[in-house]
Amino acid sequence: MNRVEGRDKVTGRARYAYEYPAEDVAYAYAVQSPIAHGRIRSIDASEALATPGVLAVLSSADPPALGSRDDAELALFQTHEVAYHGQIVAAVVATTSETAREAAQYAVRIEYDAEPHHVRLRTDHCGLYRPDKVNPAFPTDTEQGDVAAGLARAAVTIDATYTTPTEHNNPMEPHASMAVWEENGDLTLFDSIQGASDDRDTIASVLGLPPERVRVISPHVGGGFGSKGTTRPNAILAALAARAVGRPVKIALTRQQMFDVTGYRTPTIQRVRLGADAAGRLTAITHDVVEQSSTIKEFAEQTATPTRVMYAAPARRTTHRLVRLHVPTPAWMRAPGEAPGMWALESAMDELAIAAGIDPIELRVLNEPAVEPESGLPFSSRNLVACLREGARRFGWANRDPEPGIRLEGRWLTGTGVAASTYPARRRPSRASAAVEDGDFVIRIAAADIGTGARTVLTGIAAQTLGSPAERVRVEIGDSALPRASLAGGSMGTASWGSAVVRACEALLKNGAEGTADTTEDVESDSGFARHAFGAQFAEVRVDIDTGEVRVPRLLGVFAAGRVLDEKLGRSQFIGGMTMGLGMALMEETVVDERSGAFLNHDLAQYHIATCADVRDIEAVWIEEEDPHLNPMGAKGIGEIGIVGTAAAIANAVYHATGRRIRDLPITPPKLLG
C-alpha cells in the first residue's frame, strides 16, 4: 500500500527533529579537536563570550555535571584528553545559528599538547587483541574439526585476503536535536533517532535523570542505517546547552561533523581460506578478521559471523581481532557483520568455483548445509537454493560462458556475477496498545520509521488482525511516551513491533475496549531454530577498457525472507539496500589522512554514494516462504539483506568481464588499470 505518511512527506508537512518550532530557541555549534591524540592545555572562550549574541560556551574548562560517564562518546566536556581528530571539545550557544558557528570557528581559542597518533589498521599492529565478544554478543572465535587437515586433503584451495575501507552511513538527514527543559525540570528532546525508548533511557542516564523525566519525540527520521541506532552527542549537547542558557536549544551536525561523531563502518582486513575436494565439497573454511575500534570505547564488528551460517564443511574456524586506534568509535552501518563479511566469503566462493571448474551456483548448491553448520540447529526455513535457481532463470544464467575477459562490446568488457546473501531473523521484546477512539482503531507503540515504512506496515498488520480496513487504523509511533519498543535495527523492527501489535489487537478483540501486549515472554521462548533470511544477487557489469570505469546495467536480487508483508514497500527496502551495495562495491570509501588523523573526504562531493545516474535496472523479487517459527506475521526482517552480497556479485562480475580479481573495495578505476 502507499505509505500512510506519504502525503505529509511529499508536501513538506512532515517535520524532522530540527524542524519543530520553539519560542526563543537558541542554536549550538560544536568545536572539534584538530589533533588526533593528546590533551587540551588551555581553553580561552573570552572572545566568544564577548561576541554579541553568544549566550554560553561549553567545554572541559567547566565540566557540566553528568549522571554517567560510562559512554565516553557521550560524556561531553568531562576530560581534557583527546582521543581522535574531530572529537567534540567545546560548543558555542548563540541566538542565531550564524553567530554560533562563527564564534565556534574563530573565537574559542584552544591550545593542545599533541601526542603521536596511530590511525591505520594493519594486521601486524602490536596492539591487536581478542575482544571478549563481537557485536552484539556473538562469540569472538569459533573452531570445529581439524582445519589444517581439511586444507591439506583439499584438491583445490583458496587463500586470499579481502579488505574493505572505512564507510560512512550518511543518512540524508543530518543528526539533529532540539532540547526543551520544561519548568518542572523535565526534558523534552526532539531527536533524529532509530528508537525513542532506548534513546530516552540513554539520555536520562547520561544526564542523571530518572527516565520518566525525559521524553524523546521523533515521528519522522531522515534515514539512519545504524548511525541513529544509538544516542549521539548532538542529543546530549542540546540538552546541556539548553540547561546552560535556560532556553530551548537546537543543533544540527554539519555533514562534515557527521563523519567524526556519528559512527562509521570499521575498515576490515579479512583472510579467507577455503579447501574443497575434487567434486567441489568444502573440506575446510576459515575466516580471520582484523578490524578497529577507538581508544575510548570498544565496538567489535561481527564480520565473520555469516561464515558460521552459510556452508557445510567438516572443519571450520572464524576469528576476530581488534586494534584500538586514535579514531572515532566505529558503529553499526547497514548489515554490520554481514555486509563486509559476505563480501569476502562470497568473493572467495567465486574464486573457488573458478579454481575448481564448477559453476558458482552449483558450488553453492553443493555445499548447502542440512542444519546450521556451527550450532547444529535446524533452520526455521532456508531457501537459498530456491533463490539461486529462480535468479538464474530470471537473469538468464544458463547460457553463461564462464571464460573471463572475452566479451568486448565496443570499448566495454561485459560480465556477470552471482553471490549469496544472508541476514539473521530475530526479534526483541516490545509493548503495544490498541484502542478504539472515535470509532477508529488507534495503535500505540514507540517504534521508529526511518524510511522502512514501519508506520505503514504496522497499519497493515493491525488492520489484518482486527479485520478492519486500513483507513480505520491509526498508528502512533516515534515517541518515548508510547509503549516501550525496541529500536529500528538489526532488521528486527517489523518482527518485534508487529508481534506486539498483533497481540495487542488480539487482546482488544477479546475485551472490546483496549488491548495491551508485552512480548517479552514470547521472545524469550524463541529458541530451537536457526532463523535467517537468504538471498541471491546477480549483477551484470560493463568495464571501460580505457578508463577502468565500471557501470552496472543490471542488478537482480531474489530473496527468501518469510512473508513479505507489503509488496510495494518490501521491494523498496530490497532495492534500497542493493543500491547502497552498489555504492559499497564501486565508490564508497572514507580516506584517513595519516598525518593529521582526519577523515579527508568528509562531504558528499568527495564521499561518493550511488546517484541517480549510477543506477540502471535494479530489480528485487522474492519467493514464497512459509515459516511458522518466526512471529505471528511469519516475516523475516528485510531492511539489511539487500546490501549483503551485492558488492561480491559486482566484484565477481568484474572478474568475469575483465579477468581481474579485485579484493580491495571499492572497485575504482585505478585498481582495474593498475
Binding site: 502507499n2 505509505r3 505518511e5 506519504g6 502525503r7 512527506k9 511529499v10 508536501t11 513538506g12 508537512r13 512532515a14 517535520r15 524532522y16 530540527y18 524542524e19 518550532p21 542565531t96 545559528s97 550564524e98 553567530t99 550518511n170 543518512p171 540524508m172 538527514e173 543530518p174 519522522h220 527520521v221 531522515g222 534515514g223 542505517f225 544540527a252 554539519t254 555533514r255 526511518i450 524510511g451 522502512t452 515504512g453 510495494k568 514497500l569 521491494r571 523498496s572 527496502q573 532495492i575 534500497g576 539496500g577 542493493m578 543500491t579 547502497m580 562531504d603 558528499l604 562531493a605 554514494i609 550511488a610 546517484t611 541517480c612 545516474a613 543506477v615 540502471r616 535496472d617 535494479i618
Partner: protein
C-alpha cells in the same frame, strides 16, 4: 542585518535577517517553511532544491539578500492548494521515497527539470529537445542524492508524469 522581501509560494514575505543567511535557512528558520531540507549546506546533495523564478536551484548556495524580490516555490507551494502536484501523487503511488528527507528536493528538482528541455550530457543529438527517456531523467536528476536508494522508483514516477 538586512530587510529581505520575497514572493514565496505566491505570498509576499518580508524578514529582517543576518546578511549571511542562506535562502535555505531563511525559509526554514525565519519563515517556518521546513519542507525544504538541509542535507549538506554545500550544494552537494540537492535536498534544498527550490524553484527561484521558475528555475531549480540549491537554496543552500543562494544568499537570501542576493535574491531580494525573487519568486520562490518550495515543496509546500508545488501543489495547487488542496490538490497535490501530479509529481507528488506519482511519488506516493510509485513509492519514490523512503525516509522522505531528499523528497522535497527531488520534487522541486523534477518540477524544474520538466520545464527545462534542451539537450543534456547524455543526449546524442545536441540540436533539439530530446524525448525524456529514463536515461535523460537519470542524468537530469543526478544532482539529487537519495541515500535510501529510491532512484528506481523516482525515475519511474517522473517518467509517468512526463508521459
Amino acid at each position: 542585518m538586512a530587510e529581505i522581501t520575497l514572493q514565496v509560494n505566491g505570498a509576499q514575505r518580508s524578514v529582517s535577517a543576518d546578511t549571511r543567511t542562506s535562502l535555505l535557512d531563511l525559509l526554514r528558520e525565519h519563515l517556518d517553511l521546513t519542507g525544504t531540507k538541509k542535507g549538506c549546506d554545500h550544494g552537494q546533495c540537492g535536498a534544498c532544491t527550490v524553484l527561484i523564478d521558475g528555475r531549480r536551484a540549491n537554496s543552500c548556495l543562494a544568499l537570501a539578500v542576493a535574491w531580494d524580490g525573487a519568486e520562490i516555490t518550495t515543496v509546500e507551494g508545488l501543489g495547487d492548494g488542496a490538490e497535490p502536484h501530479p509529481l507528488q501523487t506519482a511519488f506516493m503511488d510509485f513509492d519514490a521515497f523512503q525516509c522522505g528527507y531528499c523528497t522535497p528536493g527531488q520534487l522541486c528538482s523534477a518540477a524544474g527539470m520538466l520545464a527545462e528541455g534542451g539537450p543534456s550530457a547524455v543526449t546524442a543529438d545536441l540540436t533539439g529537445d530530446p524525448p525524456l527517456t529514463a536515461e535523460e531523467i537519470r542524468e537530469r536528476m543526478n544532482g539529487n542524492l537519495c541515500r535510501c536508494g529510491a532512484y528506481v522508483n523516482i525515475v519511474a514516477a517522473i517518467e509517468d508524469v512526463s508521459r
